[in-house]
């Protein structure tokens, strides 16, 4: 990807560091689901912190949504988000002035295209953290940023899981060989003892 490689590397490094820290500090006894959720949330938080708050809005959105808040606060936050969303929609609708064109449009296909674009923009907004409050231009910018960092995150996670798998496999082998060794030592010890 164009752009300096060092930035991606720095991000990956920071991400992995924060990921390990957050994983190490997690509780020991958890079910699979909880573990998966913990890993995922810690990965998101790590990505957000590694990204920093400069030049993008999704890290803040992730951090604010993940920071523990009681249900009351969450309801408040949701309500505020709805209000802002409604205001943004209203402003966008007024500022666009596309209704005139829609009325005089000779080409129905452009209407369809516009509707499709709007629908997909809505979907994109939902997928990108903090995207609901952005306008189209910044939404695309955020999407770019988010995609890049998500890609890096996936790479790091893949390598981590591979390493863990390998370590598990080798640890199993170690365990078996260690048991064998212990067994042989015991046997030899026992055989020696009566003598």
């Amino acid at each position: 990807m164009r752009g300096p490689c060092n930035n991606t590397m720095a991000f990956k490094r920071g991400f992995l560091g924060s990921l390990l820290v957050s994983l190490q500090s997690s509780k020991a006894t958890m079910s699979l689901e909880e573990r998966k959720r913990a890993i995922k949330s810690s990965a998101d938080v790590a990505m957000a912190t590694a990204r920093g708050v400069a030049g993008a809005r999704w890290p803040q959105a992730i951090l604010s949504s993940s920071s523990s808040s009681p249900s009351k606060m969450q309801a408040k936050v949701k309500r505020c988000k709805n209000i802002v969303r409604r205001c943004c929609h209203k402003r966008r609708r007024d500022g666009n002035g596309t209704s005139f064109f829609a009325r005089t449009a000779l080409n129905r296909s452009t209407e369809v295209a516009r509707r499709l674009v709007k629908k997909r923009t809505k979907v994109l907004r939902r997928m990108i953290p903090g995207g609901e409050l952005l306008d189209e231009i910044s939404l695309l910018h955020e999407a770019m940023d988010y995609v890049v960092h998500l890609h890096a995150e996936v790479d790091v996670l893949r390598l981590v899981s591979k390493a863990l798998q390998r370590s598990n496999a080798s640890s199993e082998r170690f365990a078996s060989t260690a048991q064998l060794k212990e067994g042989t030592v015991q046997v030899s010890g026992e055989s020696e003892n009566p003598c």
């Binding site: 930035n7 490094r13 560091g17 820290v21 699979l32 994109l124 231009i137 995609v147 390493a163």
Partner: protein, 368 residues
């Protein structure tokens, strides 16, 4: 994205310079007949008028442009905050060389119905297709040869966006702002096209948005799947397992005392890279595998260290295996790693590199 923004601004500045030089060349070389001459000088004269118009337009059109904060150049203040014209469209105009420009005031005869129709037509095409701008521009009557953006060379490095209204287009502030907004969107779309794989075949906003959505969804699903995998392969979600494993391997890997001594410091920190190395070491002794695999990994490490810029002493690929192991590990130990970051990324540096070493390890395992 600060990085991308910085790139874009740098890109822009470089393009601006080339446009300037090109326009200077044009002004010098081109044989100007009366009409063209008048038109070209008309722009240069008209620029201040346009600037003032843009300024007034800016005050009206401020709200839609306010939230944009992604430009690399200095952010504008409250009112009248525009930025330099995008040289992407400059390049487009250059390439086509038939961009239309506004005639001097005296000669311009805008007729409103035509203009409105033209705007409508252009608006539709521009909205429907990202690349249709060219079509719309080509359809308009050709007016002058030079690039419309040549007046950027007028040396005005102000903070205004100088928007050139094309011939036959409404010049009121709203449509100008609309055009700026649309161009920005299409510019971002183009960048996204480069980012998202497989987006090159699709044109148009709707299709590309679809691709982007699919890509983001797939990435998020991959994150979920990988986190599930990590959770499943780890009975306890912490990385003490790695430390235990590592210490055991240390006791067993008796072949390389130097390696042992150097390996001792980064216990529990250098997770995948050491895991790459240590199983290989262990395999090395019994299987009598030549240093080939180890060399590969170590060379990867060294290469990545050099790449990461942490150690300038990283050797080339031709270092013999034993010495390279030692030097690499000494480097590891001496660097004083913080939690996992740097040593881990000796393996992460170039994904294909680590993938190579992974496959190598797998092969060696299978040989055993």
């Amino acid at each position: 994205m600060a990085r991308c923004g910085g790139d874009v601004s740098r890109h822009r500045k470089a393009d601006l310079e080339t446009v300037e030089s090109l326009c200077q060349g044009l002004l010098d070389d081109v044989m100007l007949d009366d009409d063209k001459c008048r038109a070209m000088f008309g722009y240069l004269q008209e620029w201040p008028d346009l600037a003032s118009m843009c300024h007034s337009a800016s005050l009206l059109g401020e709200p839609p442009l306010a939230p944009e904060a992604s430009n690399g150049s200095g952010s504008s203040g409250g009112g009248g905050g525009f930025r330099k014209r995008r040289p992407d469209s400059c390049l487009e105009a250059k390439g086509k060389s038939n961009s239309v420009c506004k005639r001097p005031r005296g000669k311009q005869q805008p007729c409103d119905p035509d203009q409105m129709a033209a705007v409508v037509g252009k608006g539709k095409t521009e909205r429907a297709r990202a690349g249709a701008k060219k079509k719309a521009e080509l359809a308009l009557p050709k007016d002058s040869p030079a690039t419309s953006e040549s007046t950027v060379t007028a040396g005005q490095k102000t903070d205004y966006i100088h928007v050139r209204a094309r011939r036959g287009q409404a010049t009121d502030s709203h449509s100008l702002a609309e055009r700026v907004r649309r161009e920005r969107i299409s510019e971002r779309m183009r960048y996204l096209q480069e980012l998202v794989p497989g987006c090159n075949k699709v044109t148009g906003k709707a299709g590309m948005l679809d691709e982007i959505i699919n890509y983001v969804q797939s990435l998020q699903k991959q994150v979920e799947f990988l986190s599930m995998k990590i959770a499943a392969s780890n009975p306890v979600v912490n990385f003490n397992i790695v430390e235990d494993l590592f210490s055991r391997q240390l006791s067993q890997a008796a072949c390389n005392p130097a390696a042992l001594a150097a390996m001792a410091p980064p216990i529990g920190q250098a997770e995948p890279s050491c895991l790459q190395m240590s199983p290989l070491q262990q395999m090395q002794t019994p299987a009598g595998c030549p240093g080939f695999g180890l060399e590969m990994i170590v060379n990867n490490n060294l290469f990545s260290l050099a790449h990461g810029g942490s150690m300038s002493a990283a050797a080339a690929a031709s270092v013999p295996a034993g010495a390279s192991v030692e030097s690499c590990l000494n480097v590891h130990g001496a660097a004083g790693w913080d939690i996992g970051s740097q040593s881990l990324f000796s393996g992460f540096d170039a994904p294909f590199q680590s993938v190579q070493s992974d496959s190598l390890l797998d092969n060696l395992k299978m040989e055993m």
